[in-house]
Structures are given as C-alpha cells and as structure tokens.
C-alpha cells in the first residue's frame, strides 16, 4: 500500500445491547484493493461492512473514506454500493428497472440510464435482449447474483461492498463467479470489500485479508502472509489445516503439507521429528492425510502428495510406527 489508504477504520466500536459486535477495530484498505473480511459467523465482519456502508452508526471511533470522516453521512452520500447476501432485488421491478434504480435516484437523463443499464448487464454477462424485461423471480440464483452486481456497479462506486455474495450458489457457479469478480476488480479499478466465512474463497480472491475473531481483527495480511505466517492459533486453525505443537515451551503451528513421514530412525539430519503410531489414512484426492498419534501426546496430520493410489500407493497403514518430521524453518511461532 504505497498510496494513502482509501478507507481507514480508526478504533471503531459497535454494540447491540450488551453484545459487542465490533470492538475497537482499526483497518486500512488501499485504493483498488480486493480486501476480504474473513471470519466465522458472529465475528463482526458483516457489521464492519455495514458500518462502512453507513447502514450502522459506530458507537465509538472514526471511519474515513478518502481521508474524510464519513460520520453522520447517509449511505447514499458515500461513494460506495453494495451487493447483499440475499441479492435484495426488487421483486416488483424488472431486471432493467432494478439496475436503473440507482441512476434514477441520481437523476440521470433517461437516455443515459438506458445506455448504462445496457452496458452494466453486458458487463455481468447477461444479454440485455434476453434478460432486461424479466422479473427477478424468473431468474436462477446465479443470474440474480449478476443482476445484483450490475445494479451495484452501474452507479460507478469507488468502493463495492459484497456481503457473502456467493454463499447461495453451488460450487461450480461459485468458482466461476469468483474469477469474474476478480477480473472486474482488476478491470474497473474499484476497491472491493468482501465479507466471507469461506477461507478458501478469501485466499483465492483477495489482495489482502483481515481475519476477524470475536469482534476484533486477529490478523491482516496477504493470503500468503495469513496462510504461511499465522500469528495466533485462531488464525492458523481458521485458515487451512494445521498442527499445533509445543516446541521448547512455545506454541507453534505447522501445516500438514510441510511435514513428512519416515520410518523411525530414518529421519534426515537437520529435521526435527516426533515418533508415534499411524492411526488412519484419509484419501482427499490431491493429498492423503496420515493421522499419527504421537507417543504420550496429540495426534498430528501429515499431508502426503497423492502420486496415484492405483499405480503407486503409499505404504503407510494403521498401526505402523512412524516419525513425523519437519524442517525447523517451517514452523510458525504463535502468540501465547
């Protein structure tokens, strides 16, 4: 983030009754970034998005957009638009009317509205001649999602807020939309703020991710920083698979794919290891997870590359003695 941040949360808090939804949260989002708020349900990610949108008012702290405080500004005076989880298409309006709504509120001339609606539909890959006159009820989930996107993009926001927009779609469609969202972010230069509980989605899409836990930001970083350098046990466990160990009195995390499995006594020099008994082998497609019960301790997961179980099967089976080994560089120390 070389240029000054486009969005800045400065120690923002929001309470609902006795429940603290967002607790002294500070964040910076850069211009043009694809920024994800990732966390389990109830962690405050949606509230954070709604605070930025102006749909909620913070109890404390300050939010700045483009360096200017937005305190007291209604949503429509902020340079942003939003795609809702439920799409929130107006059921009594056609697709074209839905997309035109924001432009009508901005009192654009009729001809310009028609033009821009047309362009926005094309942009989200809905053929205007087929879809413009349809009612939302006549669309599939994926098509509704596209209309919601067109409706938000047509007003040319600086920031696009997306609240779990792909949650209701099936896996195939979700993957397809992920790629399109990423492409739109790159092409349009609009800053995307994306709320999701799906860690894989966050890793795939984001320039940077804020992992949220219990109303606070647990860690902010690029996908690689979050995945490879988690700073807390929560982040390590929430993003990807992980083994948590105690090494020399310190809690450390290590990913299963960074570990290897050897016969006892065959561990290469320079690697640390723990011995145990193989409990189970789980077939996951790309990898196989071997669960090893360490003597007098926890169970570790080791991911082995699948080199073809029909042609080149791994030899580990339940009951085998094994040493779980790792290079000391690959462990990540966690905050106590």
């Amino acid at each position: 983030m070389a240029s000054p941040p486009l969005v800045r949360f400065h120690s923002v808090s929001k309470r609902f009754g006795s429940h603290t939804a967002v607790d002294a949260l500070s964040l910076e989002i850069g211009r043009g970034e694809f920024f994800s708020l990732l966390g389990p349900s109830g962690c405050g990610k949606t509230t954070t998005l709604r605070l930025l949108a102006g749909l909620e008012v913070p109890d404390a702290g300050e939010i700045l957009i483009d360096g200017k405080p937005v305190q007291g500004l209604p949503p429509w005076e902020r340079p942003l638009s939003m795609v809702f989880q439920s799409y929130a298409l107006f059921p009594h309006m056609s697709v074209a009317e839905n997309v035109a709504f924001g432009l009508e509120q901005r009192k654009r001339p009729k001809g310009e509205i028609a033009d821009r609606v047309q362009k926005a539909l094309v942009q989200v890959r809905l053929a205007p001649e087929t879809f413009a006159a349809r009612a939302p009820a006549q669309l599939s989930g994926g098509q509704r999602q596209r209309v919601a996107l067109a409706r938000a993009l047509v007003v040319e926001p600086t920031i696009l807020l997306l609240d779990e927009p792909l949650g209701a779609l099936d896996l195939q469609l979700r993957k397809e939309m992920q790629l399109e969202l990423r492409a739109l972010n790159r092409e349009l230069g609009i800053t995307f703020v994306y709320v999701t509980h799906d860690q894989e989605e966050a890793l795939t899409l984001s320039d940077r991710i804020a992992v949220m836990d219990q109303a606070k930001v647990a860690q902010v970083g690029t996908p690689a920083e979050i995945y490879e350098g988690p700073r807390t046990e929560f982040v390590a466990r929430f993003v990807g698979e992980v083994n948590i160990l105690e090494v020399k009195g310190k809690k450390v995390a290590i990913r299963p794919e960074w570990m290897d499995l050897f016969r006892p006594g065959e561990v290469p020099s320079g690697e640390s290891s723990l011995e145990g008994t193989v409990q189970s082998v789980v077939y996951l497609g790309e990898t196989l997870h071997v669960h090893v019960a360490i003597d007098g301790g926890e169970t570790l997961k080791v991911a082995l590359r699948n080199e073809g179980q029909l042609t080149n099967p791994i030899t580990w089976k339940r009951g085998d003695r094994a040493a779980v080994a790792w290079r000391p560089d690959d462990i990540q120390e966690l905050a106590p």
Partner: protein
C-alpha cells in the same frame, strides 16, 4: 394424499355452503322476480318491476350515498390502518400484543360497540359534555344522526379488516430491500413510494375490499348512528323485508348489492392473477 382423492374431504363443507349459502341465494333471486304480496311475502308471477323501482331517483340517491360513504370509509380505514399496520410489523417483540389489541374489539358484540358510540356522540355524550365543560362550545354539537357519525362508526367497526391484511404483506417485506434502496440513493419517501407501498399493495387491496364489501351492505351502523337521515342500501333492504313489506324490492336491492360485490371481487382476483403471472 393426492389431489384427486382430496376433493372428497371438501364434500361436507360444500354441502353446508350449498344448503345455507346457495339455496337462500337462489330464493332471493327468485323473490326479486316475483310479484309483491300485500301482507309481505311474494306471489307467483314474473316481473322486473322490483328492478325498475331501483331506478327511482329516491333509491338511486340511496345507492349513490351508500357507494360514497362506503368508499370514504374504505379510504379512511386504509389511511388509518396502513400506518398502524406498518408500526405493528416493525414493533419486534411487541408485535403479537399489538395484534391482539387490534382484534380485541371482536371479543364484544358489534351491536354493543355501536351503542357505545351513541353514548360518545349524543348531545349529552362524553364528547359534547367534555367540550362544554371545558368551555370550548356553548351548545352541544350535532354529532349523532349525521353521515359523519355513520362514517365514524363504519371506520371504527371495519378498521381491523384493513389492518390485518396490510400487516400481513408488510410483515413479509424483506427489510434488506429497503436497505438496498437506501444504498442506491433512495431517500425515505422514495423508499416508501417505490418499494414499501408497491410490495404492500396486495394487502392494501385485500384490506380495502374487506372493508368496502361489508360497508356496502351495512345496516346496523347507519341505523343506530345515522337515524332516518342517512339511510343506506342495507337499511333499505332491511325495511323492505320488515315494515315496508315489499319482499321483491328488498330482494332486488340485495341482488344489486350482490352483483356489485361480485364485480369488485372478480376485479380483485383478475388483478392478483395477473400479478401471479408476472411474478
């Protein structure tokens, strides 16, 4: 249970409706086409005299007055009922209690409640005596036995019929739609006119019909609160079957009312059909 065998279970209800709804209806239609008997009742014969009589300016006036008062009462119920339904739909955990309050009047007889309005409106009633004791007026206002009193009675009596269907459609309204409109730049008034009201329209129309239909046929309220000056179609019908002893004419007026109501209902059904298709 498939839908083919399901219809059998409607037989008791169907028989009940035919016996107590269909047959009396046919009798009324038949009476309206028969000759009047001097001492009430009807005599054999076929005539359209009763219908011709409805065209008498006196009766046309009553019909027009009935229509006008009923429409005003309907409009009044909708204007008062909509905000109430809106507030109830957004009142969270109070919602059920407020709904209970809306239907509470049904726990007492409509007749008793209408009498209670007499005690409020008459010359020595609560409203006049309060205003006089406060020195705002010297002589009692003519409140009772006016079209205004009838209107107040109709609106009071039928208000819950307007509130409940409007409430039902507002309660279904997804608040996210209003937030979406807000995000797109719609101010509160625009959100109401372009999102809330169109989506509540089925409830508004249903509520309007639920008020309009009984208002058109009402006779108790105009009888008690309107006196002789505000005769409505309902009173006319009642009179023909009692003191007026002109059953064919009473029956013809009933048929007129029935046809009018029927037209309103058909319009409503066609309208909701068209909506169902576009949705």
């Amino acid at each position: 249970m498939n839908s083919r065998s399901g219809w059998r279970f409607t037989l008791p209800g169907l028989a009940w409706l035919l016996l107590w709804g269909g047959v009396p209806l046919l009798i009324v239609v038949a009476y309206s086409l028969m000759e009047r008997s001097i001492y009430g009742g009807v005599e054999r014969g076929f005539t359209l005299d009763a219908y011709a009589q409805l065209l008498d300016p006196l009766y046309l006036g009553i019909i027009a007055r009935t229509l006008l008062l009923s429409l005003i009462a309907t409009l009044g119920c909708l204007l008062i009922g909509f905000p109430m339904a809106y507030v109830i739909a957004r009142s969270g955990r109070w919602r059920r209690w407020l709904l209970l309050l809306v239907v509470l009047p049904f726990w007492t007889s409509f007749l008793v409640r209408t009498y209670a309005m007499i005690f409020l409106l008459r010359d020595t009633g609560l409203i006049n005596s309060t205003l006089m004791s406060l020195g705002i007026i010297d002589a009692p206002l003519d409140l009772l036995y006016t079209p205004g009193a009838v209107l107040a009675g109709l609106i009071y009596g039928f208000l819950p019929f307007a509130i409940l269907p409007i409430y039902a459609s507002l309660e279904k309204l997804d608040p996210t739609l209003l937030e979406a409109a807000e995000m797109l730049g719609a101010r509160p008034a625009t959100r109401f006119w372009r999102v809330t009201l169109p989506l509540a329209m089925p409830g508004v129309v249903a509520g309007g019909l639920l008020v309009l239909i009984p208002a058109l046929g009402s006779f108790l309220t105009p009888d008690l609160l309107g006196g002789a000056k505000t005769t409505l179609l309902g009173n006319l019908i009642q009179n023909q079957f009692t003191t007026g002893r002109d059953w064919p004419f009473g029956a013809a007026a009933s048929v007129l009312l029935l046809v009018g109501t029927f037209i309103a209902l058909v319009w409503h059904l066609k309208r909701s059909d068209a909506e169902g298709e576009s949705a």
